[in-house]
Symmetry: C2
Subunit: 262 residues, 2 copies
DNA sequence: GAATAAACCTACTTGCGAGTAGGATACTCG
DNA sequence: CGAGTATCCTACTCGCAAGTAGGTTTATTC
């Protein structure tokens, strides 16, 4: 939590974040360890850097294809150093999970108070959701398998996911009740929404021409409209931003999740 | 953790796959050609059994957490026997991929000829898609990572997925053109559809109270309707089957893909 | 009823990667 | 400056699982 504030600083190690991890040492921030000659004592920041770098590596090569040596190398340190900040490879994955899920939980908490109609509250959550899934931790929170965690950690993650799921279903129910959402099978709809959004982690890369926010907007529009044409009169709320991009080949990639550039 | 009471078989590598309507070899005055053909067929059946069993095991424990000894044990054979039917663990995964994707490709080919409006053709494909993803091979085709395949095999898979993606986009375009589908961002819509459907592999278990076909129907309805309420008059095509189940707690599970029963 | 091949086995080798022991170096603070 | 601690390293262990060598059993064909 102190991280977000700290991260803006360039100093310690905060930004092993943004740039792809595959960069060669000469570049920049892959390791603030080396960047500042001095040995910094900022345990939390470094730990976060370890977790974030791990998340990027996992997203890149998969959990089991990523050795701790790989992660260490990306940070310009050695493997035992990783173990200084984290007890396990497993715990590393767990931290990625939790870190990634947190923003979604926060979004859900945030709209609890709001008094807008259900659909609008849902949409803001969905937008946050999409952003989170498009982040460095998207892969971990979505694709990583709970099989790779111990039962207790797996159960912990599960509880977080249940919380999110219930939150979305609740918004759906409330929206149906206040008339802002079409009556529907709440459970299945929640599945469909989560699936579409989670899948973003499979194909989205920050290097694409669409920002995560744009993707989020596009998806919200799709969810709202549905495939079946609406009477022209009913199009009241449709924004134009969507229409403009219709049909454009934004970037490479397939809907099935294999990325364009190998 | 027993996956299901699936292969309660004891016979080595016979029909874990199918009822295996074994035709008696005796009577036939078997020409060499015939005999060869029969042996070959047997071989194929067993190979399919290996692949299917592997798919189930992968879905259960994940690719890297499943040893070939595990798969062998599930088939009541030993590891080298697996290597008799398959060259690699990698190839095993590859076969799961291909086998799982095939029905979807078939569905796309099937509707190419049809002269219904685009939306209807799309819906039938989506239904088939959902069924495929809910099959034994769902996990492999969706969740398995191409990282675990050699470049050539990975590229092969990628090509298949591109084909499916393009097929869906094509249907969307045609539907928009013939007026049966709401104008939309075709690419993003394809992503959303594929994501929602693919995600089924994360949560669906055949033991659930909903059949795969029911899930498919529910999803198609959701896609068609959209979240924003429609004018009551416009509800022409809506089926009642959907309305009946609204709000029912069908079974355990979360939209985020951790299964209910451990 | 041999000869031949298919189908399956036991008993290995091998490499990779998670995790550790124990020591070296740098920073902080009195 | 020197004690104490935080940080990081070199150099290992060790188990697991992929893959193999080479033999044994069972079916098939002449």
């Amino acid at each position: 939590m102190s991280r977000t504030a700290r991260n803006a600083r360039t100093a310690p190690l905060g930004e092993a974040a943004r740039p792809a991890l595959s960069q060669r040492p000469g570049g920049d921030s892959a390791s603030a360890w080396r960047a500042n000659r001095k040995r910094l004592r900022d345990h939390d920041v470094k730990r976060d850097a370890v977790v974030r770098t791990a998340a990027q590596a996992f997203a890149d090569r998969g959990f089991h294809n990523t050795s701790l040596d790989d992660i260490a190398r990306a940070l310009d340190v050695t493997k035992p150093t990783i173990y200084y900040y984290v007890t396990n490879k497993e715990e590393l994955l767990f931290q990625c999970f939790v870190t990634g899920l947190e923003p979604i939980r926060a979004a859900l908490r945030a709209v609890r108070a709001a008094k807008e109609p259900g659909r609008d509250r849902l949409n803001t959550v969905l937008r946050q959701y999409a952003q989170a899934v498009a982040s460095d931790f998207g892969w971990c929170m979505v694709i990583a398998e709970h099989q790779d965690l111990s039962p207790s950690m797996s159960e912990h993650i599960r509880a977080l996911k249940v919380e999110i799921d219930q939150g979305i279903r609740r918004l759906l129910r409330e929206g149906v009740k206040d008339g802002s959402i079409q009556p529907c099978d709440v459970k299945m709809t929640a599945f469909a929404l989560a699936g579409a959004l989670n899948w973003i982690a499979h194909w989205y890369r920050a290097t694409h021409s669409m920002s995560a926010a744009q993707v989020a907007d596009a998806f919200v529009t799709i969810f709202e409209e549905g495939l079946r044409p609406r009477a022209a009169a009913a199009r009241s709320k449709r924004t134009t931003r969507q229409r403009a991009r219709t049909g454009s080949a934004v970037e490479r990639g397939t809907a099935n999740g294999i990325r364009g550039k190998s």
